[in-house]
Amino acid sequence: MLPYLPLGPFILQTTGLALLIGVWIGIKLVEKEAIRLKINPDWIYNLVFIGLVSGLIGARLSYASRSLNVYLQNPLSFISLNTNTLSPGDGLIIGLVAAFIYGWRKQLPFRTALDVLTPGLSIFLVFFGASHFLNGDAFGSPTSAPWSIYLWDADRHPSQVYEILAALFVFIIVWKRPLAALGQGINFLTALALTAAARVFLETFRGDSLFWPGGFRSTQVVGLLVVMAALWLMRSWAEPGVKRAEASLPVETHLN
């Protein structure tokens, strides 16, 4: 675990660095996939950019709304660069909504756009796991297993390593696109189903789960619902007998 690296008078946040590398590689893969699927890469760049910026702004506004009087006394704090005053969960939702609205206004083909984003998102999740490994978040439950790691004053499951391995597995599958020929959006749904299934399985070894009544882990319940939704959509999005759909996309429209 190495969350911060002191460099003279500065502190390098290794977690942030891992996430930045993940975003950078993710965008490169998205660009490559956009060209392959004949979608204008600029539109996808804009989609990602709008999602990220809206997410950041939303995360700050959401945090500030919890102590609005404090922020109104110091309005410049709304634009502070401090990452400690962000609400990441709310930011994620706001970013997704903003990206969706952009895609809708640009009339991007929804399912193909999801396929374009899939490799980038999948590789980002590998680096997301690495960021957890670096800062000790998403830690495992106590165990006496021989491969346990000592973290937060206990021998624990190396849940961050499990997370990285699972994300790598999903990325490899997504990159090979074994089911993509069945229709637009199927590669995205494959990634979604596998990622959610991995969370359902691996949550058992986490030490920071949120428990719901009955002792159920909230992530497992939500994860299982996501797996089911993804499988159901796979069935309805699959196009029997139809070759890969992008071949029939009106190319001139999407490359404008």
Partner: protein, 193 residues
């Protein structure tokens, strides 16, 4: 394998069977994964310097005499700030901490500005407190035990601790401005004592 999945996907009844099997397997796994609360940080069964855990307890001498024990402050919101006089961001954020302390101390805020005396000077810490007119408690970590206990990696580092003694937020580096400090303190003070 892929071929089988592809064929199954194109057969509505077989795919429904797959979905039901996945649902059953997932439900069984979730059921057997139900865990007692002790397996999580909920209830803070472990004491460790990170969010969600019980704040490691300590007793230290204070600048100006006397002692303070962190666990004696249960029921109050506590900001533990580790600092040194030679650390520029530490110096810069002290007036903001003082301002927030003055504003919220009557509502139940306590500040422990733990000076890392093992790598600083007791005299300079006292002079610094006087120069900046700091009215909160300044414990002295003469041996470095508390810094090790809190796995100090960079100065300053601040821990926002709720009324139950659970660390709710950790800010590494600085300087923190008064908005950041006040927003975190206010959120904890709003919670039921």
């Amino acid at each position: 394998m892929i071929r089988i999945i592809q064929q199954t996907l194109q057969d509505s009844r077989r795919w429904t069977a797959v979905m039901l099997a996945v649902l059953l397997a997932g439900s069984i796994w979730s059921f057997i994964s139900r865990s007692p609360v002790a397996a999580s940080t909920d209830g803070a069964s472990f004491s460790s310097p990170r969010e969600g855990f019980s704040a490691p307890d300590f007793t230290l001498d204070l600048v100006g005499g006397g002692q303070v024990t962190l666990s004696d402050l249960r029921g109050k919101v506590v900001l533990v700030n580790l600092w040194a006089t030679w650390c520029p961001p530490c110096r810069e954020e002290m007036p903001a901490i003082e301002a927030v302390y003055k504003k919220y101390k009557d509502s139940g805020l306590e500040v422990l500005a733990v000076n890392t005396t093992f790598q600083d000077s007791e005299g300079e810490a006292a002079a610094f407190a006087q120069e900046f007119g700091l009215s909160f408690l300044i414990p002295l970590d003469r041996t470095g035990a508390v810094s090790r206990q809190y796995q100090l990696r960079a100065l300053p580092t601040s821990y926002f601790i709720d009324r139950q003694g659970i660390i709710r937020s950790v800010v590494v580096g600085g300087p923190m401005d008064d908005t950041l400090i006040a927003s975190k303190v206010e959120e904890l003070l709003k919670e039921t004592p």
